[in-house]
């Protein structure tokens, strides 16, 4: 599905990604875990072409898209559901979703867009009720639903998610991750970046561990869950907190 080789990128003089190589197979949920500032978001932003890489290559379904503009990436079937949702706060829920299908309209596929819209409403019925409400006025969980829905509108094959659980109540996080699993079951591929390592490893097939711009560890979700280093660094405190909070509810 996607293959990345020796990717380097950053801001001005600061190099954030120091030679990243990874791949995601069709139908997988792959996660990248790591501490704050490790470069996880930068990696996704670079794949989505919001940041131009300084070297390396990105192959999407075998096509080289290293230097393609952001709209090409979307057209090739790869969308990013960004960190912090990044909705259009002053536009209605429906408008937000429709814009997700922007790339379809150029190719006379506006019927697809309407069909997708219905599917999204089926997946998140609450959005159907709120379709003419301004997106900025929704709750955090609803906003995350709009963000995911918007990403799905363009018929992507690969969905990248950046910290989908951030700022959400644990119950909602569970719902969101359930949706991610559903997506995989529908044949989509998901690349997901999370700080909430425990929760994400429970649904992921494989995972990478990222530290200061490098991928230091790779393995199946089970392997990573069992890995001592990972447990100490990423699961220890988080794990405890998560179970505490989860248990409290």
């Amino acid at each position: 599905m996607i293959r990345i080789r020796n990717l380097e990128a950053g801001y001005e003089k600061l190099k954030v990604l120091k030679g990243i190589s990874l791949h995601v197979n069709h139908g997988e949920i792959v996660t990248i875990i790591g501490a704050n500032g490790a470069g996880k978001s930068t990696l996704l932003n670079t794949i989505a072409s919001l940041i131009t890489p300084s070297s390396g290559e990105i192959l999407l379904q075998g096509k080289d898209v290293t230097l393609a503009p952001p709209d090409r990436i979307v057209k090739e079937g790869c969308v990013l559901v960004p960190e912090g949702r990044q909705l259009f706060p002053t536009m209605t829920v429906k408008e937000n979703l429709i814009l997700g299908a922007y790339t379809l309209f150029g190719h006379k596929k506006s019927n697809d867009a309407n069909m997708n819209l219905e599917q999204i409403y089926k997946m998140f019925p609450i959005l159907n009720d709120r379709q003419s409400q301004l997106a900025g006025t929704l709750s955090g969980g609803e906003q995350q639903m709009v963000a995911i829905g918007r990403g799905l509108m363009s018929n992507p094959v690969l969905i990248m998610m950046d910290e989908p659980s951030m700022g959400l109540a644990p119950l909602i996080v569970k719902d969101i991750f359930k949706v991610v699993e559903t997506l995989r079951n529908q044949g989509k591929t998901v690349l997901i970046v999370e700080q909430n390592a425990k929760a994400v490893l429970e649904i992921a097939d494989r995972g990478y561990v990222m530290e200061t711009g490098n991928l230091v560890l790779e393995g199946s979700a089970e392997e990573l869950l069992d890995n001592n280093d990972v447990r100490r660094a990423y699961l220890g405190k988080d794990y405890k907190e998560f179970t505490d909070m989860g248990g409290g509810e």
């Binding site: 989505a48 979307v74 814009l99 922007y102 790339t103």
Partner: protein, 296 residues
């Protein structure tokens, strides 16, 4: 003051106000997609009038106006490609300064092409001495054109931004540029489109007012300032409120003449600007929230 006089002042205010509103709409369109205040907006009005005048010498009025709008739109697009696109990383200060520079350059080029003479496009209907009686007040038929077309532009813009995909995409760029990119919207194309649209609307305004107010190479800066006052008054980024604010400022200016020497008319409107800026920068018609969620 008799009721006819009051009505006459109102008409005068609406005429002037519509012109201000057209300039302010241009500001808002560009501001919404780029966050730039394009101080060269007044020059588009001048260019529209001048180009239409020159073309009207060799063709009839309607194609001259249409061509003038298209050409000025192309100029707007060119300005974006040549100057603005390269300024991505620039500060607000840099943006103010460069648009001022651009406006000076356009003005000087206009001086070279059309020299210092004043030009006036012919009246759309009637002529210089036609006058329509409305409830005892009298106006030129051109005023109806100005007000009518302004209303049409506002409506068309509303429909465009609300119901067309391109319009929604432009609003998306203004709302959240990053997210717009992630949706596969080519933001640079939207920015370019906004310059084209703003220039075209400015040019149409220039054609509309030319028969009444005439066109002169240096008319732009005056309008740019008035248009900006109106844009602020209405709340930056809100074209609908700009129309209301434009009419309001037009009326204030018109009525201020009845009790103050006309020379200080501009002092009044700028004082209003300063007071608004200091007390309520979100504009008269915007609450603080809506201005933070800037929208069409």
């Amino acid at each position: 003051m008799t009721s006819e006089q009051i009505l006459q002042y109102i008409f005068s205010g609406i005429t002037v106000g519509s012109i201000y509103a057209l300039v302010a709409i241009g500001y808002n369109i560009i501001y919404n997609t780029t966050g730039i205040i394009n101080l060269a907006q007044g020059e588009f009005v001048m260019l529209g009038g001048m180009i239409a005048y020159s073309l009207s010498q060799i063709m009839s009025l309607v194609p001259a106006v249409v061509l003038a709008v298209l050409i000025t739109g192309a100029v707007g697009s060119l300005i974006e490609i040549v100057f603005i696109r390269r300024m991505k990383k620039s500060s607000v200060l840099g943006m103010i300064v460069i648009t001022i520079g651009i406006s000076i350059i356009i003005r000087e080029i206009a001086l070279l092409i059309w020299d210092e003479q004043i030009r006036a496009l012919r009246f759309f209907t009637g002529n210089e001495i036609s006058s329509i009686d409305i409830l005892g007040a009298r106006i030129s038929p051109q005023v109806l054109w100005i007000v009518g077309v302004t209303a049409l532009i506002v409506m068309a813009l509303y429909l465009f931004f609300r119901f067309t995909l391109t319009g929604q995409a432009m609003r998306a760029c203004s709302s959240n540029t990053r997210a717009a990119k992630l949706c596969g919207i080519r933001t640079s194309r939207m920015v370019n489109l906004s310059f084209m649209l703003a220039a075209g609307i400015g040019a149409l305004g220039g054609c509309l007012v030319s028969p009444l107010t005439q066109t002169h190479y240096s008319m732009g800066s005056e309008l740019a300032i008035k248009g900006f006052i109106v844009a602020i008054l209405g709340g930056l980024g809100n074209p609908m409120a700009a129309v209301a604010a434009g009419l309001l400022l037009g009326l204030i200016e018109s009525f201020s003449i009845s009790f103050l020497p006309m020379v200080y008319k501009d002092v009044i409107s700028i004082l209003i600007l300063l007071v608004i800026l200091v007390l309520k920068p979100s504009g008269l018609f915007g609450s603080r929230q809506t201005s933070s969620l800037k929208d069409f």
